[in-house]
Symmetry: C2
Subunit: 329 residues, 2 copies
């Protein structure tokens, strides 16, 4: 299946040999690579498992920032300027909440609010997040499978020099200003992977860690997947490949580099590879970081050096094809 945008892509030849891929994704960066993969892979060959540790309740609504970013992006509904939220958005609700003295620190567009209200309504009816996500994806015309990592509440808590903060409080309300000391994933020990996640991983030829924050986007997914009573069989004939979210010591978006620094680790592609060293078969790093290639190889990890910045759909699809070729090689 090609999205309606695939004409914009200079790549996108379908793989001759089919590969079943599971992509693990957080927000904007993860959504971009997942979007690229969706340009190339058939719907039945791609499952995107999305972090829900950032989920929170706000104004009485259950909000899933990463899940919505991935869905909006794959549906072609995402705001291309911000990476989050909806394209052609209006802001009449939040403007009026502001006039009433209500909280305005989390910017919610009018179309976006529909997602949160309807999701919250269904959850109160007893529907699971994965069921709701399946229905929403169908309504938005998304053919690939997008799963929340779990239907259970898992909450990323950020330990900082100002105490422990809920993730959105740290990330959006406090603009990532407090110094990070560590992370805790509240509820992770009893969270089961969402229905279908285990099966998708077991039947996958490869697992791709999208260029998302290792600490607060990918780690919560890995914790949910590994900490179940029956740990999932990583590595057994299955290739695990990560794409570095750090390019030239910086992140395109988000606080990953800042978090590495505050935790006493030099932020770099190498640091990301080391973070995942026990589970990785391959690692994709940006051309600007090519001098780290040998150090990463010395960890026993194969490498691909390529351009990893994704400014448009052409970039996303090209990087996705590079990753798929790397897996096949």
């Amino acid at each position: 299946m090609k999205s309606t945008n695939s004409k914009d892509s200079s790549h996108g030849q379908p793989s001759i040999v089919r590969r079943r891929i599971v992509a693990l994704a957080g927000g904007v960066g993860g959504a971009k690579l997942a979007h690229g993969l969706a340009q190339i892979l058939a719907p039945e060959d791609l499952t995107v498992i999305v972090n829900t540790g950032d989920d929170f309740e706000h104004l009485g609504m259950y909000i899933c920032p990463d899940l919505d970013t991935v869905c909006y992006t794959l549906a072609g509904l995402a705001n291309p300027e911000t990476g989050w939220g909806r394209v052609n958005e209006t802001w009449n609700t939040i403007a009026n909440i502001e006039k009433l003295g209500g909280p305005n620190w989390f910017r919610l567009g009018d179309q976006d609010i529909a997602t949160h209200l309807e999701r919250t309504r269904r959850m109160k009816e007893g529907q699971s997040l994965s069921q709701i996500t399946r229905d929403f994806c169908a309504a938005w015309g998304i053919k690939h499978t997008i799963l929340p990592m779990t239907d259970s509440p898992v909450r990323t808590m950020v330990d900082t020099d100002e105490g422990e903060l809920a993730f959105q409080e740290y990330f959006v309300h406090r603009h990532c200003e407090p110094r990070v000391k560590g992370f805790r994933f509240d509820g992770v020990n009893i969270a089961e992977p969402a229905p279908g996640a285990r099966e998708a991983i077991e039947s996958a030829d490869a697992i791709v860690f999208c260029p998302s924050n290792p600490w607060v986007s990918v780690d919560p997914i890995l914790r949910v997947i590994s900490l179940t009573p029956t740990p999932l069989p990583w590595g057994e004939g299955r290739k695990v490949v990560a794409v570095s979210p750090i390019i030239g010591g910086k992140t395109v978006k988000g606080p990953a580099a800042k978090m590495y620094s505050e935790l006493g680790i030099e932020p770099s592609a190498l640091a990301v590879a080391e973070h995942y060293r026990n589970i990785l078969a391959g690692f994709v790093l940006d051309s600007v970081d090519s001098e780290m290639e040998n150090s990463i190889k010395q960890l026993g990890i194969r490498t691909l050096v390529t351009d990893t910045l994704m400014n448009n759909l052409t970039d996303r699809t090209r990087l996705a094809q590079d990753v798929l070729n790397f897996i096949r090689s």
Copy 2:
């Protein structure tokens, strides 16, 4: 205080003798007369007590249709076409809820949703509806006092030939189609009047029943006010005046006439006067119903025959002045 719209009024001379007025109001018709009264009376001389029996929870939000209609109208924010909702409204949230297969039978505009979200947020924090209404009125520039009838949940239940229906289910979702057999105000026996309502009534020179539905707008307020441990002293030197919501056997808006018919009562201004006969000192009926004046007088109720249709602010203010002159006479 004059609203910024008072230049549209050909009337609006302030009363020489001040009168403290409490107006009881439901939705659109009540809001219009309350708006007219607010053009003439000083902020400290008008308290509008609004029905909350129509309140309901929808999409997780606490919605107060009558309270919002009165507030939006007095603030000059009401949609002049519909009488309910906001002027210059957009509908992006509800359109997207519809795309997701969610409930669309209750039309919620994007600006209007801000009111419901912020109210719900504050209620969950423990704030009372009257406190929230006071803050919202301040934010919207409303200087007169608007009170919900109570801070407790009271729910108007409509007994119909299809069983008992919650009011909005009957009114909006079912378009008033089921035949009415009676009404029940769930919670009314333990509901206390909102803070300030008792004091406003005790210090009022007159109580005005706005042209709202007697069965489901004014009756719930009367029940809350009268059924408290210390019944409020009706009539004692205090004039109670009602304005008929039925003109020529019909209602301008809403199901009052249909309800009278289904309850076996010919809908008419006379029927409204009879409904309130034990508490009324005066009754205002439309010129088209002047032949009923004598029958109403025979109930021991004084009458005023005038034009009661309110198509614009001039009409609202003129009718309000007529009512105030009638009270003074």
